[in-house]
Amino acid sequence: MRLLLIEDDVMIGTGVRAALRQDGYVVDWVQDGAAAEAALAAEPAYALVLLDLGLPKKDGLALLESLRRRGKRIPVLIITARDAVADRVRGLDLGADDYLVKPFELDELGARIRALLRRHAGRAEPVVEFGGFRLDPSTRKVSYLGREVSVSAREFSLLSALLERPGRPLSRAQLEERLYGWGEEIASNSVEVHVHNLRRKLGERAIRTVRGAGYVIDEAEACRSAASSS
């Protein structure tokens, strides 16, 4: 899950990025409005934007406005020191999905991010359940066919990505976009390696390869697996 963090305060940015990485997100961090605009234009794969308002070069609200004008539906969470009700109303009315006032606790930030991602995926329940999978984003625990499986952060991200729109395949490039931030070395076969490892833990049929399209988790496959294992 790849997030764009737009924050001009170096200390806050450093801390938040580290925390979100620990949570398994891929985080790109920019420190001014212009860089944020460029990043949003170049990378289509962000699952969510964390937006500070008092930004150099281009104000956060202006950024948000132009983002929505271009029809982007990406969830935006405003993180700001502006705490007046009028500011919050303005931020939400301009298209933000949530508003968090500084100072905040990392746990709350994490919970709000999860809630936004969940709502954006069209789910109300916090736990993702599909195709025999059960993913809990808050504890980062995975169980498959009722059995708890331990997975790495990257593997969790990969499963989350595939379960974002269940049944729709994602290409290797799309998965890479979601799994790796800027400046991260990507081995040419890293997605394959993660898929391979997951299949080893979960069984061959947990993730299906769609020739020419990528990978998919589908309902039917899981049911068959469940039937065959019982």
């Binding site: 170096v10 806050i12 990392l106």
Partner: protein, 432 residues
């Protein structure tokens, strides 16, 4: 004591004293004149009696038209009382000239004329004369005393009328919200009260301004504290999450840096707040700029060393300005501290203090990124930070420097450093 009562008492007392003094003076003057007149009268009578034969005196006295109060006595040369006018007791013999004598508890004025063949005495009761003087004095005193209540009433009314605007102002103030600093109404004020009210309004305006400034500062400060507090919160949360000794150490390190930043911001805010009220110079004294630069350089040496910045005291000449030593220290410290923070590692910060053209100069130069001309006016604003500059800057350093400079009537200018890149800050004090 109220002005009205004070005026009333003072004016009426003055009036009373004046009246009494005037009538007293009149009394004395009238009596003196009356005395002269009476004495002349007595003398004339005596002389006219002396012109007559002794025997004729008795016949003459009634013709003189003397009042009943007068007494005339004539002694012959043998010292025998030859004649005494009908009323009154005999007067004792007296020597020639005027005399005051008492007979049977009554005061008499006597004139004695010694003619060759007789001695003539003419006398009148003293009371007759003072009576006239008293009547005259009373005629003056009574009208004056009678006017006192009238004057009192007039004073009471005029003073009340005159003080009415003051009462109105007092009422206006009483009716206000306690926190209201709106100006007082100034219409239709007597000219004695108008300056008071306009001064009061000026004071209120200054208060309002100071209060606004304070409010703005508090709001700004609260806003500005959010960033370091957020950083601290994030760093603290990261410390709590740390699972390995390395993560723990890194989180602690970050937290320590965050604390330092917050502490510095608070310290800067305090400096700013202390300078606040238009920085009235507390105790102007002679402050040597060269010594100040050297002192601050010494204080910041550890910071410079940590950043591998060389602090160069380039041109320190003996030059002093009059001002507040603490405030000037804050000015120098902020400028030099800024320079050290913005100079690149391994760079240099150059300091100079000198006198030129009737001015004293303090110059701080670094070889950092400098400030683009377009930003040079704004960087003096409180909490303004250059876009993309260090997070650790409080945004107050230059604001503090500007405030101190303003309070000292000094100019502070930003320019390019001598090398072409870097910032040169020049503070110019007028010494002439």
């Amino acid at each position: 004591m109220s002005i009205r009562r004070k005026l009333l008492v003072a004016l009426l007392a003055a009036l009373g004293v004046t009246g009494v003094a005037a009538s007293g003076a009149t009394w004395f003057e009238v009596r003196r004149q009356a005395n002269q007149l009476f004495d002349y009268h007595l003398e004339q009578m005596a002389l006219s009696l002396a012109d007559q034969p002794l025997a004729a005196s008795a016949a003459l006295v009634p013709q003189l038209g003397l009042g009943q109060d007068y007494v005339v006595q004539v002694w012959d040369s043998g010292g025998v009382l030859a004649y005494i006018s009908k009323n009154g007791a005999p007067l004792p013999p007296a020597s020639s000239g005027f005399d005051d004598v008492g007979v049977d508890g009554e005061d008499w004025r006597v004139f004695t004329l010694e003619a060759p063949d007789r001695t003539i005495q003419v006398a009148a009761p003293a009371e007759l004369r003072s009576g006239q003087a008293t009547a005259m004095a009373l005629r003056i005193l009574v009208p004056i005393l009678a006017t006192i209540p009238v004057y009192g009433l007039i004073i009471w009314l005029i003073v009340g009328e005159g003080l009415r605007p003051l009462n109105q102002i007092a009422r206006a103030i009483r009716r206000r919200q306690p926190a209201s600093l709106e100006p007082l109404p100034q219409a239709r004020l007597p000219e004695e009260v108008a300056p008071l009210v306009s001064e009061l309004n000026a004071l209120l305006a200054r208060l309002r301004e100071a209060l606004d400034r304070q409010k703005r500062f508090t709001a700004d400060a609260a806003h500005e504290l959010r960033s370091p507090l957020t950083a601290l919160q994030v760093q603290l949360d990261m410390l709590a999450r740390a699972r390995t000794p390395e993560e723990n150490r890194a989180a602690l390190e970050a937290l320590r840096a965050g604390m330092k930043r917050a502490a510095r911001l608070v310290e800067q805010m305090l400096t700013m707040a202390r300078l606040e009220p238009e920085a009235q110079l507390a105790q102007p004294a002679a402050v040597a700029l060269d010594a100040l630069a050297a002192q601050v350089a010494g204080e910041l040496e550890p910071l410079a060393e940590a950043r591998r910045i060389e602090l160069r005291l380039e041109r320190l000449e003996s030059v002093a300005v009059r001002g507040d030593a603490t405030a000037l220290h804050a000015l120098a410290r902020n400028l030099i501290d800024n320079a050290i923070r913005y100079a690149p590692a391994g760079g240099a910060v150059r300091l100079a203090a000198f006198a030129e053209d009737g001015s004293a100069f303090l110059v701080v130069e670094d070889d950092g990124p400098g400030i683009p001309p377009a930003e040079r006016a704004r960087v003096f604003d409180r909490f303004y930070r250059l876009p993309g500059s260090h997070a650790e800057g409080s945004g107050l350093g230059l604001a503090i420097a500007r405030q101190v400079a303003d309070a000292h009537g000094a100019e502070i200018a930003l320019g390019d450093a001598a090398g072409g890149h870097g910032l040169r800050v020049t503070v110019r004090f007028k010494t002439a």
